[in-house]
Amino acid sequence: MPIVSLKKHTLTFKLKITIALTFLAWSLGLLIACLVVNLYSGLWNFLQVNQEKSNYDYNIIHKEVGLMNTFGLSNSNFKQNEMDLIQQHPAVVSVAPIVSNQFKVGIDGGNMIHFYTELFLQSVPNEFIDLDTRDFNWREGYAVPIIVSNSFIDLYNHGFSVSQGLPQIPKSIITQKQLQLIITGNGKRLTIPCKIYGFSDRLSTVIVPEEFLLWANQLYGKGKEDKYESLIIQSDIAQGVELEKFLNQNGYSYNKEMINLDQTKQIIQSVMIFLLTISTILIVLAVGLSYFVSKTFLYEKSSFIQHLFWLGYSPRFLIQSFFKPILWIAIVNSLAVLIAAFVINYFISQIFVQFNFDIPYFTIAFLITWLLVSYISIHIIYLKIKNTILKIV
């Protein structure tokens, strides 16, 4: 005896595709939401770790130079009272002047590095230097230790040496080699040995110990001054935004590329919230859509349902017949998304390995949300089918 499967009437191709797409949409929305949460958590941990390494931000500030400076009507120096004002800002931990040389100075590479250039020297208190400064000091009769910006060495090796036909020199060799500083000022000339002490990422200048510059300025320049071209600020990383406002208000220029971690966190947070909102809207729309698809389909089939009822099919049987195929589509579809979620998560965790993705956290979070949303949407569809069929019969 042939059997007429109700499935061919209750589960048309059109319905299969529509239901599959709506379930796919909410599952993808959910996947995006969970990935966003996980990525956010990973990035947050990453930034927290970096923040723990250094709670402070360092900025070198200057006064803007305008036409008034050119005509000598204004100067771009900081005075002591301005330093005190900066020091009082809650974001500022400490502030110090950057002292510059008041004499002509050049550096000679000697026999090995055929190199001579005039340069300028600066000094800052040792606590502002991003190196171990225990041996960064000077006494008369000794070589002057020099800290050079990392970018200078890169510029030399990949720019200057190539254009001038000079050999490229690795950092390890430069630090071994004794160089000569040639100082001229107040009618005197001095050649003094120096050595590269290290390379700084924070300070893009040539740094010598404070005591050496003080000594040299007194002998070859004007001596100690109480006004400075630039200041270095050590600030609380958490209050970066307030500090930035303060600096802008006072017309101080600073390195704007040094966006602190606090701002980075705020930007990431905003992007994540945006993505989370989009994925939530996607889920809500998809769940709503699956509800309306079921409703429309049932109304299309209302005559068929009524005929089956007149033939003797019980409402309970009809509800099950219409609900079961949708349930199966939902289960198959959702399982596919679940597997896809873990595969995607695995690859993301491999790509962003430094973010230290928390796989168990992601798994639990995704599973709980997935089960909850699945249950809610399937239950909504079940209620719709039940109510509509009971209304039809």
Binding site: I3, V4, F304, W310
Partner: protein, 207 residues
């Protein structure tokens, strides 16, 4: 199921002064007994069928099934009461086969051969795979009758089932229905516009 008792049933739309052999009175339908109910158009034949079949609740009075006031109508429709509606209620956009099998598979009362024999007897077996709406009204009537016979039943109610059939087909239909009623030991209720003699009725009523 041995009997159905209609106790003073009356559709809500009928006035209290309406005179009838059935509405407002007590009527006993017994298994094995054939009843003819004659009534002109619009006097409530179909309403009576709907009330007994449990798909119209807008009436006063009681319908008792072996003295049971609230039977499971799904069970009644599957095993005890078969009907042929005046408007046939075939599913128009599926095949004749689907229409019949959808009914038969509820109880597996007939084999495919038995169904084909009945269709052949009524001359509609060649339409087995056709979509129902492609059939004429008379052909659809015969399909609806065969479908109604594809279940075990204690009572069979027919609502103007021969209206679009010629005399020869009416006799065949009556013959088939009588055979199936005999096999089931069932009672028959014929609702018709006029008095007919296709069956040996035990009682005649005017609605």
């Amino acid at each position: 199921m041995q009997n159905i008792v209609l106790q003073y049933i009356k559709p809500n739309y009928l006035s209290d002064i309406y005179k009838s052999d059935i509405y407002g009175k007590e009527l006993l339908l017994e298994k094995g007994k054939y009843i003819h109910i004659e009534a002109p158009s619009g006097t409530g034949k179909t309403t009576l069928l709907h009330i007994i079949y449990g798909i119209n609740n807008l009436y006063s009075g009681k319908v008792l099934w072996d003295n049971n006031l609230a039977p499971d109508y799904n069970i009644i429709r599957q095993f005890h009461l078969s009907v042929v509606f005046q408007d046939l209620r075939l599913i128009q956009d599926v095949t004749v086969q689907d229409n019949i099998v959808l009914k038969n598979q509820l109880t597996n009362h007939k084999t495919i051969d038995e169904i084909m024999q009945m269709l052949q007897f009524l001359g509609v077996d060649m339409h087995w795979d056709k979509i129902t709406h492609q059939l004429s009204r008379g052909e659809q009537q015969r399909v609806a009758i065969v479908r109604a016979l594809c279940m075990p039943f204690s009572f069979l109610i027919l609502d103007e089932v021969m209206s679009h059939l010629d005399e020869q087909n009416r006799l065949k239909v009556a013959d088939l229905i009588h055979q199936e009623c005999a096999k089931n030991g069932a009672g028959l209720v014929m609702l018709n516009l006029y008095k007919d003699n296709y069956f040996n009725y035990h009682t005649f009523y005017h609605l």
